[in-house]
Subunit: 316 residues, 2 copies
């Protein structure tokens, strides 16, 4: 068996997860520590170095077998320089993460956007395994995305590619946290689905959403909205239908622009599985430009919470 | 000097242009014949073979120096199979162009979408020369586009990539010839600019557009609209401002999704040059997701009418 080991770090706003990974994408050992994101970047990075050393030691890995360290970070990343340009949750700006890790650990280090990293894991070991090109879209708090072509993350000429969540889908539409209007994630993230539910509940206190949520906003989750739609509740079905129509607009655009072999849906909403796919697919089919040729297959993500660590470990 | 020659064919709805091209993208000799597009595909292809033989002979090129034949064709192309899946103007369906040319000429033949081919020419010898990635958008009757990364056309997993003209930019917006609604080219092609002009003229017979066009629809051209805007005519300026706002939505999406090193504007409207760029650039700057990093440079195309022949010749 191959003794080579790859360290993957999933840097989140809440936790830093760190794992020792094999070439085949298996996590042999992993550990999680709190990020305490409000600290200066150097303190967070010092803890990151400690947890990396600790997983290497505790897993009994020989330092000489460690090939590289990869980090998936939120925000806009310059992967070539290994620099975190900005990362909202962490309030980092222009942090030279690659250099700091290489100085501390004397191993090659790589940094990429967390959604890109998850897409890499999905492309190599998940629903995109064996496919030429994989586009992953995670429908969570925001909409993260990554595009992997021939096993390589495509993050564009300036490292800002695959920010699909900020594709303008409605001219001068809903205001987005990014400062722009009408961004895709305002209509298609889990938060968007929840926002529609909350709006409906507030407008109609007798709606089934209000009943099931006990009229408490906090109880309106993506899961509740999907459950109600699955049960055939008309109001929830209408919202879900609108939600998947906006998703279809974006998916059609990605098919027409990039034409990946597979488009994979991940994140909280993707747990709706076939119910989600059955609602999206006909909407895509009727809108895609070239109906004469096969187009991107739409699938549900297979990698769970390990995608961040595994994908980061595979950076090179 | 290198004796190797590359045959480039620009297959259009009106004419078939064919040229003998050097590795450096220089056209040594070229000829154009009418397509007579209403004939069966095999007759058009037979004429294409004749004109290829004729440019080789008339230019004094030795058949043994001819490396390959490339064709830029309108429509959806399966470049791997060398098949024209559909080509609106030509009413071709599933035409095995590569095979037919190879059988007739005993040279390797390649087929790609005409906009992709133009993007290749622009990337290799035009405004994208020396850049890692080039996205060309031609603002003409429709909106054609091609994306070239590391010198290679990116046409996606099923050959339908870079159909940017059919990115949905306005949900359930203007009807498009493709059967979908709200497509980018309905708002940003030269035809879209003209349609706005005609609409305005019909609503306001005293508008300067009506005056300059002699109230004749046929006289409302993209050039007239741009000229009037340049002269400071308020109505034309407003239309032009709307037009470039929609263009900016699409350009922002392409930056956020693909992040090419350069985005090049070609086609009729691009002749407006700096006047066009000056109107687009601030609209893009205020909407692009990652304002902290440099993003795609927006440029005007440098290749003229030769892009089709030169780009086709460079297919491999």
């Amino acid at each position: 068996m191959d003794n080579k080991r790859y360290i993957g770090v999933d840097l989140g706003g809440t936790n830093i997860k760190c794992g020792v990974v094999t070439k085949e994408g298996e996590i042999l050992y992993q550990k999680s520590i709190p990020t305490k994101a409000d600290r200066p970047a150097d303190e967070v990075i010092a803890d990151m170095v400690l947890v990396i050393r600790s997983v290497i030691k505790d897993s009994g890995t020989d330092m000489s077998d460690v090939v590289s360290i990869g980090v998936g970070s939120p925000g806009a990343i310059d992967s070539e320089k290994g620099e975190v340009i900005k990362a909202g949750n962490l309030s980092w700006k222009y942090v030279k993460l690659k250099k700091k890790l290489e100085d501390a650990l004397e191993k090659p280090a790589y940094v990429a956007n967390d959604a890109n990293v998850a897409a890499l894991a999905e492309a190599l070991f998940g629903a995109g395994k064996g496919k030429k090109s994989t586009l992953l879209m995670t429908l969570g708090t925001g909409l993260g995305a990554g595009y992997v072509l021939d096993g390589k993350i495509q993050s564009g000429a300036h490292g800002v590619g695959a920010e699909l969540g900020h594709m303008i889908i409605v001219p001068e539409g809903k205001e987005c946290t990014c400062g722009n209007k009408g961004c895709f994630e305002r209509y298609t993230s889990a938060s968007a689905l929840i926002a529609w539910g909350v709006e409906t509940m507030e407008n109609d206190p007798n709606s089934s959403i209000a009943k099931r949520a006990g009229s408490d906003k906090e109880n309106v989750t993506a899961k509740l909205m999907i459950d109600l739609a699955k049960e055939g509740d008309e109001v929830a079905l209408k919202i879900f239908d609108d939600y998947t129509r906006y998703l279809a607009y974006g998916i059609v655009n990605l098919i027409n622009i990039i034409d990946p072999e597979v488009i994979i849906l991940g994140g909280g909403v993707s747990r709706a599985g076939d119910f989600l796919l059955d609602s999206i697919k006909p909407k895509v089919a009727s809108r895609v430009f070239c109906k004469e040729a096969p187009y991107s297959e739409i699938l549900i993500s297979k990698m769970g919470n390990d995608a961040g660590v595994v994908g980061a470990a595979m950076l090179s």
